[in-house]
Point group: C2
Chain length 367, copies 2
């Protein structure tokens, strides 16, 4: 292999894919990045066997070929080179890299040992195109309630599925739940994408990516973000029938400014550290006051109040303040609707509007 | 105790002093901040028995008194309050804090148990006033070569001392050494300030601090930065007679652009990780080329070159690339003078000027 690429293109490709490279003791080649010529392009790719990321770079190919190279070293080395032409030349298992005054030899492994990159058949797949803005918002709003407990794999993903002509994303860790309407759809979909894959896609998005193409088949999902393509396995299993858990109505409904709710929650949570984050929320309709009370048995206690726009009925509920903080951090808009029915049934948070397309549910703590 | 302070003043005082509070199991009160009225002011102070930091805040004092309060909780709580008047009221061992819609009770400890804050006699002390800019520069340039090895305490500090009418700072960890001329002086000084104390002073400096007043006595140093005062013990012991270690002349002297030297050092260091940072520097006078070569036995090797303005004589020396990186990061100016005499005697880095008031010495590695 012998070719020239620009430093800008090569460093962008390397930084896009190198995060996926991993050090698994049983398969050292996964620490490497695959470089392979493809007509007038250079393929730059990495895989951890669950997720594969690849990127094509325009290249002046002198001699076809391939090699794999330690991901971290080449990524850091190339990113520090000046913005000039880079010459890559494979000799035996070594890659010789020269650029201006810089010259390196990196020891690689032959590409034959590199795992085959997954391919997805475009014709038989379900395809969606989503704007980057909608994708980022929907993924961030749902991923936050996914679980990190690998003993229940289906909960470690985000459930992309169609329901009555609409495509929804949903995730739950058993303590809280979120659901987001994304777009209308005529196709049937039911796929659980690992949260770690979605995280990788979010990291790969840059300002130049305006839309994201998604392809689903029965076992895989494929994301195309301009020149970067990410393919991931789906999580096998049945997602819980979560819709029945979302209360349609609640006894107490409160509408208030989001900033006010954020501030009193944050202050209350400082005092809730010693008690596992437990805070008690009380709504008083007569004075339109929402108050949060927290007790740190050894350190003291706190009461913070905010004025609400509406409180339909008095009520009290005890929540984990971390869950409340996280819910408020992903909610849209300036106002929040917060509703609950006494101490036992789930609390629902939505933005202040009637047409809220995002629901965030938190189970109360026993108090 | 009962008083009012503004949130802005109180939160600034707390954030200035609270870093010093520490959790030492044998003396739990050191986790607390001392609050004590003093005429129309509130004293906010913390100590870890080595360093004490205090700050006065203007206050409307209703009733004199004092208390100590957990540092982290009160600092975070007050910083999250709105910018309004804060009421503080001590009842038994509790501090009641109210501010607008926020009301907290924090459990404290009586101030009698708090260690006495150190005082320094201004009349019998040696006094210097230094601009904040000069102080920051001199401390950063020397602290970098101090040791973190507590078995040789004198090397964990920066040696402030007078020599032939000038005040110098010096520090060495046994592998490298730095010396900075600060100001002219007529008084005799010889004091080793712990690097951790200087770090704390640097952290406390904000944009409003234009000059720093230092007072030295035999065992203590006192820093005054506007309303914040920091007092620290000095390190007991004799600093090594380092001057004899600085070579007056060198066989090879190289002058080059600092950016070029930084870039080739950084790239070489990527390949030097596996070999403990070892890089070999070669200077060739005929081509005016400075090159750095590094070998990562399993990963590969690298050669990076830069053009020098001057090279007096060919030479080669092997250094730790981390030390070279750190030296370059604290050197002033656009150009660097780098000189050495073969593989064994110390290397000297200064800025490109003749009147360099900062010297940075690195011992070579055996190669």
């Amino acid at each position: 292999m012998e070719l020239q690429v620009t430093q800008e293109n090569f460093t962008r490709a390397l930084s896009n894919v190198s995060r996926v490279a991993t050090n698994k003791a049983q398969l050292p080649i996964l620490e490497n990045i695959l470089l392979r010529t493809d007509n007038n392009r250079l393929l730059v790719a990495a895989t951890n066997l669950e997720v594969a990321s690849s990127n094509y770079v325009g290249a002046k190919v002198v001699r076809e070929g391939s090699i794999t190279i330690p991901a971290r070293l080449i990524t850091e080395f190339v990113s520090n080179l000046p913005k000039e032409q880079i010459n890559l030349k494979v000799e035996n298992d070594h890659l010789k890299i020269t650029c201006g005054h810089y010259s390196s030899i990196i020891n690689g492994m032959v590409a034959d040992e590199f795992p085959e990159l997954p391919v997805i058949d475009k014709k038989t797949s379900i395809k969606y195109i989503v704007t980057t803005e909608d994708f980022k918002k929907a993924v961030s709003q749902t991923m936050v309630t996914s679980s990190s407990d690998s003993t229940r794999p289906v909960l470690t993903g985000v459930y992309w599925h169609s329901f009555e002509g609409k495509l929804y994303l949903a995730a739950t860790d058993g303590y809280r739940l979120s659901e987001k309407y994304l777009i209308d759809t005529k196709t049937e979909l039911s796929a659980i994408i690992p949260a770690s894959t979605l995280q990788e896609v979010l990291r790969t998005i840059n300002d130049e990516v305006e839309e994201i193409e998604l392809l689903f088949n029965d076992t895989q999902v494929h994301f195309k973000l301009n020149e970067t393509e990410i393919t991931s396995r789906l999580i096998d299993g049945i997602f819980p029938d979560y819709r029945q858990l979302i209360p349609k109505t609640s006894e107490t409904e409160i509408i208030l400014k989001k900033d006010d709710f954020v501030r009193i929650t944050k202050i209350a949570s400082l005092f809730a550290r010693e008690s596992g984050g437990s805070v008690t929320i009380s709504a008083v309709s007569e004075t339109k006051t929402l108050s949060i009370h927290s007790i740190a048995s050894e350190l003291g206690e706190n009461t913070s109040e905010a004025e609400a726009e509406t409180i339909t009925q008095d009520g009290t509920v005890t929540l984990n303040s971390r869950y409340l903080n996280e819910a408020l951090s992903v909610l849209d808009g300036d106002r929040v609707t917060f509703r609950f029915s006494g101490k036992l049934s789930p609390c629902v948070l939505t933005d202040g509007s009637k047409s809220a397309n995002y629901k965030h549910i938190i189970m109360p703590l026993k108090s």
